[in-house]
Amino acid sequence: MEFMPEEEVKDEKEISEDANSKVYELGYLLVPTIPEEDVPAVYGNLKELVSSLGGVAISDEMPKKIPLAYAMLKVAANVREKFNTAYFGWSKFTMDSDKILELKKKLDLDPKLIRFLLLKTVKENTIAAKRFVRGEMHKRPVMRKNGDSGAVVPINKEEIDKEIDALIAV
């Protein structure tokens, strides 16, 4: 009977630690002025920053160059810069909820980031399940195309030629 209370206390401690560390996701946009060779280094620095604050990485993706949906402004050293492309990357990690504010403050000062987004999330991979769905959605049109393609392709070429001639004539 004497052992029982001790074990219970240990369990409670473990639970409280688990409850305190939550799963977060950091999505960020890096300045496109970084040359592509240096991107892995910047990415490594961000990972180090997360682990230095006690974060344990779950999953992540290398920053990739993407076109932005709209132009973003960033004021750095009193210069207004406009960006239409950026490197977008993300990483998922567990971290104590009290350390996340420190991380945010450090990221706020980083001149290489245009923007970042810190979110609470779930441990499970949220994208893989959706890719599965996409596969299902794609299957149907592919099946139809296969059935039609054999008959349609030879006719199409002539039709296209005629259409082009008609367009040129106009």
Partner: protein, 66 residues
Amino acid sequence: MKQDYFSANNIKYIDYKDIEILKRFLNPSGKIMSHKRTGVTSKNQRALANAIKHARFLGLLPFVVK
């Protein structure tokens, strides 16, 4: 779309990075479509709206399509 897309496809967490899915719920000018039109449940509509807004903030989706 009469049935909720997310429960039909067993999506429990709507991710802001999955633009292909989020785009289905935007109208041609980039506004979020009403749940009356898409059949998304109220709970998922709220999560979807948050995901779209996060994607907009990071430049993955537009605020307005001109």
